[in-house]
């Protein structure tokens, strides 16, 4: 469906209101054409009329009805199986990390989400009647997921990834609703977003949707089997992989022609997971399943940054769902672009300080005999070293790795206080040349300074 079709569909939806508005406008014009006004007055009326018409049309296109508040349902209104499935789906959809602020109550919102247009704060999705979604009916919840509109009819910002959640089936939405409505209600007022004009105007989101939003639910692809379709449904829908792994255009919308092509968001690089994926050892469905389950794989390394939150959630979902995602994503990846494992010829990569720092500091874990998770990954296997962006390597060397809260996983100490910017720059040059066989990243030292600034803020 093209953009114009969507405009038409939206138009049809609001046709009745548009027709009424048009008749009014016509009457207005007729009435005023009969008036005797000087030329400048007529121009003024024309301009004002056009502006009024445009604003009116936008408001009408953007208008959504308020759905009636309900009495907050009781826990026994939901069956246990739905709640259980909802918990798994919430883990798959990673609801918790975004809807929980640092050290805050689970799902009570308040986490700042940085966007190029300003900061958006996640909302309270506990069933608190005043500040959460306690008065949302199932229909209101489904509309938020499917159309990105809240109970009161306001368009939601796509920081809430309804461009993916729209694919979620009615049954899964119902299970998610059952899970969320049976959580402990927490009173926590959503913080005001810090957005610049015109992004702070809600109906601008309606215009955004006309061009960039395709409503679901997911349509099965008959060319593939049930498992692949389940994986595609989850990865593109609830799990919203593309929200990080797909580059966005300047309007903040994912670029459909670059699905899963890899991009940097908020100080971390989400690698390509399409045919451009590069890893020394080819990813397959089995390796992906292990990685998504535990957060590390001995031939690929450890999930970093936001991906560590994702894998912590995926550890709790049924193997069938995780395997389906792994099968689907593996099908998108072609053989890797890099040559098979092997270090660059020695001599080519001797980089003085960098090599000495590696040998003295990193090698005991990364070049030892202990495999992951007790030792470090062999660095020629690490996408953080072989990939296109330096930022993940910078982040992990400075700040180390910790398992997510409550999860088991590999640990790496951070070296922020031990390494100067120059020392880290020399180390990265060496790693890049020696283990990736590539030229050092340009301006890597700038990325180091940037990462230190971010850690301080």
């Amino acid at each position: 469906m093209g953009a114009s079709d969507r405009v038409f569909a939206q138009y049809t939806l609001n046709r009745g209101r548009l027709v009424r508005a048009g008749k009014l406008a016509l009457q207005f014009c007729k009435a005023h054409s009969a008036m005797k006004l000087p030329k400048s007055g007529r121009i003024l009326v024309g301009v004002l009329g056009s502006v009024a018409l445009a604003v009116g049309a936008c408001s009408l296109l953007a208008w959504r009805e308020v759905l009636d508040p309900i009495e907050p349902p009781a826990a026994h209104d939901f069956d246990a199986a739905s709640v259980r499935r909802g918990a798994q789906l919430a883990a798959l959809g990673d609801c918790g990390p975004c809807h929980t602020r640092s050290q805050g109550e689970a799902l009570a919102g308040g986490r700042p989400i940085a966007t190029p247009f300003g900061t958006i704060f996640s909302t309270n999705i506990t069933p608190d009647p005043q500040t959460g979604i306690g008065r949302w009916s199932r229909a209101a919840f489904r509309r938020a997921m499917r159309e990105g509109v809240d109970r009161e009819g306001r368009h939601l910002y796509p920081a809430f990834p309804y461009d993916h959640f729209t694919l979620v089936s009615d049954a899964d939405d119902a299970a998610l609703y059952a899970y969320l409505m049976t959580r402990r209600p927490i009173r926590a007022q959503a913080q005001e977003n810090h957005l610049t004009f015109p992004m702070n105007v809600r109906w601008v989101v309606a215009a955004w949707k006309l061009w960039f939003f395709r409503q679901g639910p997911y349509q099965s692809d008959a060319a593939h089997d049930r498992q692949w379709n389940q994986g595609a449904y989850l990865a593109n829908g609830l799990a919203h992989c593309g929200a990080c792994h797909t580059p966005r255009n300047r309007f903040g919308a994912e670029n459909p022609s670059q699905g899963f092509a890899g991009t940097e968001t908020d100080g971390w690089y989400a690698y390509a997971i399409d045919s451009a994926a590069h890893a020394r050892v080819r990813w397959d469905a089995k390796a992906l399943n292990v990685y998504l389950h535990y957060g590390w794989h001995d031939q690929h390394g450890v999930a970093l940054g936001p991906m560590a939150e994702v894998t912590a959630g995926l550890g709790d979902v049924p193997d069938g769902d995780r395997t389906a995602i792994a099968v689907y994503v593996a099908s998108l990846m072609n053989p890797p672009r890099l040559p098979a494992a092997g270090k660059a010829p020695s001599g080519q990569a001797s980089s003085g300080d960098g090599e000495r720092i590696y040998t003295a500091t990193c090698a005991q874990c990364h070049d030892g005999t202990r495999p992951l998770p007790f030792g470090g990954v062999q660095l020629e296997l690490s996408t953080a070293v072989t990939g296109d962006s330096a930022i993940n390597l910078v982040n992990v060397v400075l700040n180390g790795l910790r398992p997510s809260e409550g999860a088991a996983g590999p640990i790496m100490p951070g070296f922020a206080s031990a390494l100067t910017d120059t020392q880290l720059d020399a180390l990265m040059s060496y790693l890049r040349m020696h283990f990736a066989g590539k030229a050092p990243w340009p301006a890597a030292i700038e990325r180091v300074r940037e990462a230190r600034r971010r850690a301080r803020d």
Binding site: S102, Q103, R356, I357, T359, A360, T361, Q364, C365, G400, R402, I411, M412, P413, F415, A416, S417, A418, L419, T420, Q423
Partner: protein, 210 residues
């Protein structure tokens, strides 16, 4: 020969540049507070400060440290004149076997130097890399809160120890006793109510003077 500045004093160290800092501290400089735990930077027993930030001495070769300020537990206070963090750990009897405690104190010191008003959640998150096998975590947390209160109430540790004549404990680093804070919050106020009822060592009853 590498020049290392430890607790404000510069030492010429004649060791292989690959040598981990911890070995030099313990064997060459006889500074034995920092402990060898795992040797892999995973337990935190060897935590010291490098330029005021926590660092794991067992995995940092001395070649990286020329020109940087290294602070060990010996550098922030002495038995006679303990720093607030040391005073607080004693008052809360936060050690059981004690092996992790030097590292715990140094990591907490880094946090309180930067922010003596750190919240309980911030303290917990900050101490997360340091492990304790005995399970004295609640006492450790109480001790860090107590140290924060001591710092905010303005160096009570210096006047607390009756025997101390007030002289600074020798090779105190530049970060001695953390920062001064204007608000004299009582140590009790920093403790969460549910922590107060836990049994305490008798020494606990002696409150620091303010």
């Amino acid at each position: 020969m590498i020049d290392l500045t430890v607790n404000g004093q510069t030492h010429g160290i004649d060791a292989d540049p690959d040598t981990p800092l911890l070995y030099v501290l313990r064997e060459d400089l006889q500074l034995n507070a920092a402990k060898f735990g795992c040797g892999l930077g995973q337990c935190g027993a060897c935590t010291v400060l490098v330029d005021g930030a926590p660092a794991l001495a067992c995995v940092i070769p001395i070649m990286l440290l020329a020109g940087k300020q290294i602070t060990t537990l010996e550098g922030i206070g002495t038995l006679e004149d303990p720093a607030p963090i040391q005073q607080a750990f004693m008052e809360e009897q936060a050690a059981q076997c004690g092996f992790c405690i030097a590292g715990m104190m140094m990591r907490a010191q880094a946090l309180l130097q930067a922010n003596p008003r750190a919240s309980d959640a911030e303290i917990r998150a900050h101490l997360q890399p340091n492990l304790c096998r005995c399970g004295t975590h609640l006492r450790i947390l109480r001790a860090v809160h107590r140290a924060a209160a001591l710092i905010l109430s303005g160096h009570p540790a210096a006047t607390h120890a009756a025997g101390a004549s007030g002289q600074a404990g020798g090779a105190a680093g530049p970060d001695r006793h953390g920062s001064d804070g204007p608000s004299p919050a009582a140590p009790e106020d920093r403790l969460r109510p549910d922590d107060r009822d836990l049994s305490r060592h008798p020494q606990q009853r002696e409150r620091p003077e303010r």
